[in-house]
């Protein structure tokens, strides 16, 4: 029966191909969307874990925007008083409080921006991926700079070389070059906190304070206490992650509804193909009935054709999702807040099972009416048509 169903489909190859391609497009989008949601959640979680911190003190304003900008190495318009750092360090639940001062110096006529980060040695506890590939491992003096690997490559600097910031007039010496970490650190210039404060006229000011707690279970109490720090607000990566996942989830739901419309159109394409085939083959079906084919066998034949069409469409859609997935991901990353550096599309077994299940359901539902109509043909109809 499978062979017969297959032969019936290839008798009208263009019509079958069109039905398959319509369903394939819908399944590909569905697979990408589904894989993107799972991948985004997982990649964001990994990114948050790698931060090694449980909360951040940021200046008053939108806390999520502030925290996201700090984590992605962008500057804030406002800053914190350095007293916030002291208050955070005094809190009994805080194990590490690392100050950060960030400044971006745009050089539009040269098509780039220098990203400077001032930090002190406490930041090392929060950056477990920090490995200084070459050099002393830390700033030897106030006029030292550690370069991210991409920054060092672009500026052609090695440890011991001189380095200059034309905008601030600061002359520095390269103390080290970081190993590639795949984070935004790779393109940054790191200087001692005091040097950064002097360079950018931000004496006793900070962009943020990154905090690790002695025990993550103390998060709620510590947050309640640190909310009282003047000029600062507390953001936890988990809250940030939840906000971003919710934001992306809302967009995903909207897109999913559009995809379901596309899947419905694909199913209607299969339905139309099968119905046309049944009408065209009415006489042939009557002859089959006349030579002994039962109604259930006719229903089985048409249902098999429907399943073959939707199976091919589903398989083609999954292949399409794998092929175009990278392109879709790079496009999506431009619009997603706090897009993690890791791959966002993850075509898991669950996603594939979901697509296959949907394809099978679509096939059965698209084939029901044509199969019923085909099974209604009477053996006597064959002689009438003759």
């Amino acid at each position: 029966m499978l062979l017969l169903a297959f032969r019936n489909l290839v008798r009208r190859p263009l019509r079958s191909a069109l039905a398959v391609s319509g369903l394939a497009s819908a399944v590909a989008v569905l697979a990408c969307l589904s894989a993107f949601g799972d991948g985004y959640r997982r990649a964001l979680s990994t990114e948050v874990d790698r931060m090694g911190l449980q909360m951040m003190l940021v200046p008053l304003g939108c806390p999520y925007d502030a925290a996201a900008r700090v984590l992605k190495g962008k500057t804030l318009d406002s800053s914190l008083p350095e007293s916030a750092l002291e208050e955070a360090r005094r809190d009994p639940a805080v194990a590490v409080a690392a100050p950060l001062l960030m400044a971006a110096l745009a050089r539009p006529n040269q098509g780039r921006a220098d990203m400077w980060v001032g930090l002190d040695k406490t930041a090392l506890a929060l950056k477990p991926w920090w490995r200084v590939e070459a050099g002393d491992g830390w700033f030897g003096d106030d006029n030292a700079v550690i370069l991210g690997c991409d920054a060092a490559e672009v500026e052609m600097r090695k440890p011991g070389d001189r380095f200059y910031s034309p905008e601030t007039g600061q002359e520095l010496r390269v103390a080290g070059v970081l190993e590639r970490s795949g984070t935004s650190d790779d393109s940054m210039f790191f200087v001692p906190l005091r040097t950064a404060q002097r360079m950018f006229g931000q004496t006793n000011r900070l962009t943020a304070v990154a905090i690790r707690l002695r025990d993550p279970a103390l998060l709620r109490q510590a947050r309640d206490r640190l909310q009282g720090v003047s000029g600062a607000q507390v953001v936890t990566p988990t809250e940030m992650m939840g906000t971003f996942v919710n934001l992306v989830g809302a967009v995903r739901t909207l897109l999913l509804s559009i995809v379901l419309v596309a899947v419905t159109v694909g199913v209607l394409g299969v339905f139309n193909t099968l119905l046309a085939a049944v009408v065209e083959r009415a006489n042939e079906l009557s002859v089959m009935r006349a030579i002994g084919a039962s109604r259930s066998q006719i229903v089985g034949l048409i249902t098999t054709e429907a399943l073959l069409l939707t199976g091919a469409g589903t398989a083609a859609g999954i292949v399409l999702a794998v092929v175009v997935g990278q392109g879709v991901e790079s496009m999506v990353k431009q619009f997603v807040p706090l897009a993690p550096a890791e791959p966002l599309l993850s075509l898991t077994a669950a996603t594939l099972a979901q697509c296959v299940g949907l394809g099978a359901a679509a096939g059965v539902s698209a084939g029901l009416y044509p199969a019923w109509r085909a099974s209604r043909r009477q053996p006597a109809d064959a002689s009438k048509a003759e």
Partner: protein, 211 residues
């Protein structure tokens, strides 16, 4: 007497054998290769075209592969070519269909950071313009290196010209010498890469610089 002669003979034979067993390398670099640089983009083609080839209406980027000419390159450069010198990105400038020259870009190691060069070369292989599109040197050095007179002194130079800083190219203030030498070497290297990739350009008849 006989033993002495025999010892001398042994020493001479050993010396010859050492010479035969270590053939002279095809090329002995005189200097260390400079630090390999990542690809340098052309940041402001519109204004550079107006500056170097005022009649230009368009440009076309092309990549020439030089990995098969490393030996020739090494001889002409006087050093082992760096990895990034296996390919040359050339921007061909045209007035409609008429070729006007080419533009090359390169990143060289300045004293305080990378310096990006934009070099315009006429069809005769002579420099017809040089601009520093990016540098992070302190003020006195940047002023010396970006001085129009100093940059103009490169015009008319060819890959086979003499390139001594202080003689063929005017000297600069002492603190700028390191970066100036890097620029001179960078421009010379670009011209050699171009001439090696397209020998016809360097053999064309003498002509006045286009600029």
């Amino acid at each position: 007497m006989g033993a002495g002669a025999l010892a001398l003979l042994v020493v001479v034979v050993a010396w010859r054998i050492r010479d035969w067993s270590s053939p002279e390398p095809p090329f002995e670099p005189k200097t260390k290769p400079p630090q390999a640089a990542p690809l340098c983009p052309w940041r402001d083609p519109e204004n550079d075209l107006k500056r170097f080839f005022p009649n230009a209406t368009r440009y076309e980027p092309k990549t020439r592969i030089l990995s098969g000419q490393r030996l020739e390159l090494a001889e002409r450069l006087g050093r082992v070519p760096t990895g990034d010198e296996n390919a040359l990105h050339v921007y061909h400038c045209y007035e409609e269909q008429l070729p006007l020259g080419v533009v090359l870009t390169r990143r060289v190691k300045g004293d305080y950071g990378a310096i990006e060069l934009v070099l315009a070369v006429g069809p005769n292989g002579r420099v017809c313009g040089l601009r520093l599109q990016r540098l992070r040197e302190p003020e006195p050095i940047a002023t010396a290196l970006q001085s129009p007179d100093w940059l103009r002194s490169f015009e008319g130079q060819r890959s086979d010209s003499s390139w001594k800083l202080g003689r063929d190219i005017p000297d600069v203030v002492p603190e700028a010498r390191l970066s100036a030498a890097a620029i001179v070497d960078g421009v010379r290297s670009m011209l050699i890469l171009l001439a090696t990739s397209d020998p016809s350009a360097s053999q064309s008849p003498e002509a006045a610089p286009h600029h």
